[in-house]
């Protein structure tokens, strides 16, 4: 696996990457090492998605690709095929998404750093149908850590938003 240190390779050639984010298409030329998270934050100025652990352990970077929740920190931007939805793309016509409103109503955060990832994950969790019991919500939200431990209020927010999301669908 690890071998003796070779001469450091030159900076790799940029690869063309087209990202469709929140309904808008962006043509970028990126170092192939660029993760989707870094592309969003550093190249598209969409800083809502947060860099927590940067190793797929905390969930702060959660976004939707093709409507499915994924971790943008462990995804190469060049490997993204489908349309991306970030926290910035949830509100419609100036109206907060029901999940965003529920997080406010239930005080479902303290410092707020994990919140965009929590909300994206919660939206997907409802769409997946994993909101049939408190335990099921906890299980399917376990990939989003909250160091402030706002978990009881996050649970309450998801239970509150779920029927209103499903009414709209």
């Amino acid at each position: 696996m690890a071998t003796a240190e070779a001469a450091p390779p030159a900076t790799p050639a940029a690869v063309p990457v087209t990202l469709n984010v929140n309904g808008k298409s962006h043509a970028l030329a990126l170092d192939p090492r660029t993760t989707l998270l870094d592309a969003l934050r550093e190249h598209l100025d969409l800083t809502g998605s947060k860099k927590g652990c940067d190793h797929g352990q905390c969930g702060a970077c959660t976004v939707l690709v093709d409507g499915r929740r994924i971790l943008s920190c462990l995804t190469l931007a060049a490997a993204v095929r489908g349309p991306v939805t970030t926290i910035e793309g949830l509100a419609q016509n100036g109206n907060l998404h029901p999940m965003q409103q529920a997080f406010i109503d239930h005080d479902a955060f303290q410092c707020g750093y994990c919140t965009p990832g929590q909300i994206m994950s919660a939206v997907a969790c409802v769409r997946e149908g994993h909101v049939r019991s408190d335990d099921e919500i906890r299980e399917y939200m376990s990939g989003n850590l909250c160091r402030c431990a706002a978990y009881p209020n996050i649970l309450a927010a998801i239970k509150d938003a779920a029927p209103r999301m499903l009414d709209k669908a």
């Binding site: 696996m1 450091p8 192939p32 940067d54 190793h55 797929g56 994924i70 462990l74 990939g143």
Partner: protein
């Protein structure tokens, strides 16, 4: 992260020709590249192979799982849930909702160990990372390390769950490679650390997993995956058991048993299976089977508790499987 050349391919023929490290879900690869543990010079994105290799199909012959199917898709597939609950459970009890949407089945079985000394390059001794350098875990913090299939060179635990269900059900794995396609028993894919822990599978350079075949096994409806861990969710196993039981009343015609969290590779517990054959399944016969499964366990201090935890896990899994209404 070190620089690498990136290429994406459209089909298996292009992939095996491309040469390099395959990228599917990336949940292991990107993580370990950021840690500087894996240092590929060429990354070959095989996600477009999902057109060819992501189907999940069930029929009289059994179950076929495309290697590019995501964990979440297989975990919720109605045929998998109904006919092979141990597979569905091994997948849904692993990782998180996001990771299960990303990780593919092929990548899942090839995930690397969570051994802290392997993952942290500030430790110079790791035979898996740097062959011949030694093993810091032998006398280090080894609470989560393996007790079965170890060698004096490596005690890193195989971290996956899905592989245990495959090995218990006598699955086969299909490969594409530079010299053509081949198929082998899944049990032959992984190798124990032995003299060279950096070699984890028998995959040849350029070879790619394209699918898994699970033979039809009607009694697999009486199967389950029991996973014991430090947290209730989103955590690797300290001990786990994949079991399937063919019962005649309370007597075992056949048992299939694999153990996770305790071994250096996906571990089939054939001694335990043999101990149960023809026996009435109760706490005492289950315990005897568990003793047989761990007869060869070797511990290193921090993991002294693991054989007992592993035995209790297996006993509970067997008794729970017996009680299933199928």
């Amino acid at each position: 992260m070190r620089p690498f050349a990136y290429a994406h391919v459209n089909d298996a023929a292009e992939a095996v020709k491309a040469g390099g490290t395959f990228l599917a879900g990336g949940t292991t690869l990107l993580d370990l590249m950021k840690l500087d543990v894996m240092r590929p010079e060429r990354v070959v994105d095989i996600n477009d192979l999902s057109r060819e290799f992501s189907a999940i199909a069930y029929g009289p012959q059994g179950l076929r799982l495309g290697a590019l199917a995501h964990m979440a898709e297989a975990a919720r597939h109605p045929d998998v849930v109904r006919e092979f609950p141990v597979i569905a459970q091994s997948l849904s009890l692993a990782a998180s909702g996001q990771l299960r949407n990303m990780a593919t089945l092929g990548g899942n079985v090839l995930q690397r160990t969570r051994c802290t000394y392997f993952r942290d390059t500030s430790w110079s001794r790791c035979n898996k990372r740097d062959p011949g350098s030694g093993c810091a875990a032998l006398e280090g913090v080894n609470r989560k390390h393996a007790v079965l299939g170890t060698s004096p060179n490596c005690i890193a635990t195989y971290a996956g769950d899905f592989a245990q269900s495959l090995i218990a059900l006598d699955a086969a794995v299909e490969l594409a490679g530079p010299s053509g396609a081949r198929r082998m028993a899944f049990a032959d894919l992984h190798v124990a650390p032995g003299d060279d822990p950096s070699v984890e599978t028998v995959l040849r350079p350029g070879e790619l997993i394209t699918g898994f075949i699970v033979p039809a096994l009607p009694f697999a409806r009486r199967s389950l995956y029991l996973k014991i861990r430090d947290r209730q969710s989103y955590e690797f196993a300290l001990a786990s058991a994949a079991v399937a039981l063919d019962l005649d009343g309370g007597t075992v015609r056949q048992a299939r048993i694999a153990l996770g969290g305790v071994a250096t590779k996906p571990w089939r517990a054939r001694e335990a299976e043999a101990a149960l054959r023809g026996k009435a399944l109760d706490e005492s016969s289950a315990r005897a089977a568990a003793e047989a499964a761990f007869a060869g366990a070797v511990t290193h201090g921090g993991n002294d508790y693991k054989p007992e935890l592993g035995k209790r896990t297996l006993v509970r899994a067997l008794l729970q499987a017996k009680a299933l209404e199928v």
